[in-house]
Amino acid sequence: MIEVLIVFIKIVCALVWLLTLTLCLTWVERKESAVIQDRIGANRASIFGIRIIGLFQPFADAIKMIFKEDFVPAFSRKFLHTLAPFLSFFFVAVTISAIPFGDSLRVGARTISLQVLDINVGLLFILAMLSLGIYGIIISGWASNNKFSLIGGLRGTAQLISYEVALGLSLIGLIMVYPSLRLSSIVHYQGELLFGFLPKWGIFLQPLGFIVFFFAALAETKRVPFDLPEGESEIIGFFTEYSGLKWGLFMMTDFMEVIIVSTLLTTFFFGGWQVPWLAADGFNFPWGGEWLLPHAVVVLFQVAAFNIKVFFFCWLQILIRWTYPRFRYDQVMDLGWKLLVPLSLVNIVGTGILMTI
């Protein structure tokens, strides 16, 4: 009974973390773009005249979206039209269950791992769920029964499938180095030291894999340098026929993908919840120093480190989104098939050679 309760609490915590961060990210995106462009950004939303630098903006957006008319075109396929945003949302939201937020927490005699599900094929599970997210796009394009939406959906599908290849291949080198598909053990392996001082993070062992994964993951989020499926302003995208909360679900999916990609980058290449030189009982510095810490503080450090890394990558992705113009369609395909896929293959071969010698 208590086991079920613990799992339930973990699910709720992970979802709340994800959705809160998503809400905040809509605000962060506006503010960060404004700061980059020497503006101030959304700061007017207020409750009773109190406006904490516009932090109420996401709630204002949510209220607006709830009260908007949920318009379903007469010519659309109604059931699929309704189903598509939910599919798209679900497959992204479910990936959070495999992400390790921290090492295990000891409460009395019980050990609780700070991860909803420690699946032994966690990596494959995440890749599979990210691939299934394509269904949301293609179904929404198809069910809108609008030629522009359909073409947008097709563009999206082509892009996501192409980059799925590079995404998967770039992680093979990582699996060779950390011989496990279980995310918690991948993170555990990254706690070891290289040459006695450098943490054994993926970025140091797999720099090429990191670059390929980063670009492919950026393409997976469908945001600006790769926003061909969506194409807000010029080329019409797959959610043209959506309004109100259903459109909001698509938008939230975008932001959630940013967070998921950040968590994946953190988990695979930046040591997940590992703090450099922090062992289970405190810091063991390579120059000989030691700083013993109680268990709760260590766990707090780990969760904080994970969050900071994730926030940094969210920041980086928003920076990229507000810096670069959109790729042309053939450029996207060239980058995917002619550069990233060969590079990931080179990475696999190189990793293999280096591991044998």
């Binding site: 020497d38 101030i40 670069y324």
Partner: protein
Amino acid sequence: MIKALGYFIEIIRGSVITARHFVVNMFFHILKVLGIKTKRKGAVTIQYPEQKKELASRHRSLHRLTTRDDGKPRCVACMLCATVCPSECIYVEAAEDPDPEIQKYPAKFIIDLSRCCFCGFCVEACPEDAIRMDTGYIELSKYSLQELTYDLDKLIG
């Protein structure tokens, strides 16, 4: 390959520029939050309704009619402004003034601001310096067309 590498370096430089803007602006924003006054601001934005920009001395804002010493309008109803007005938004109705020096005065002087394009031709055409556009009042959005029809009382007052 080398060409592609060059592009790649330029791409990185692009993001360094935006990152630099972010860091520098955030630095000044944080200084402002901490209450430290700096000459440079984190953003170039003017927070309009609370914070207003000083209008240029030649800025053409809402019209006003100048008056003589006794409080009557200087306008002699010569119709030059109404003639020159490209959007035909000025309506003047003349009446006879008992003073032979003045001869005519405007019984009605109506400017329909919903049509006015603020070109300032009326000011230039006026031989008596009776109409000016120097009130500095620029918030001319109203809920009805009637509120935008300015007559003699409103233009003098």
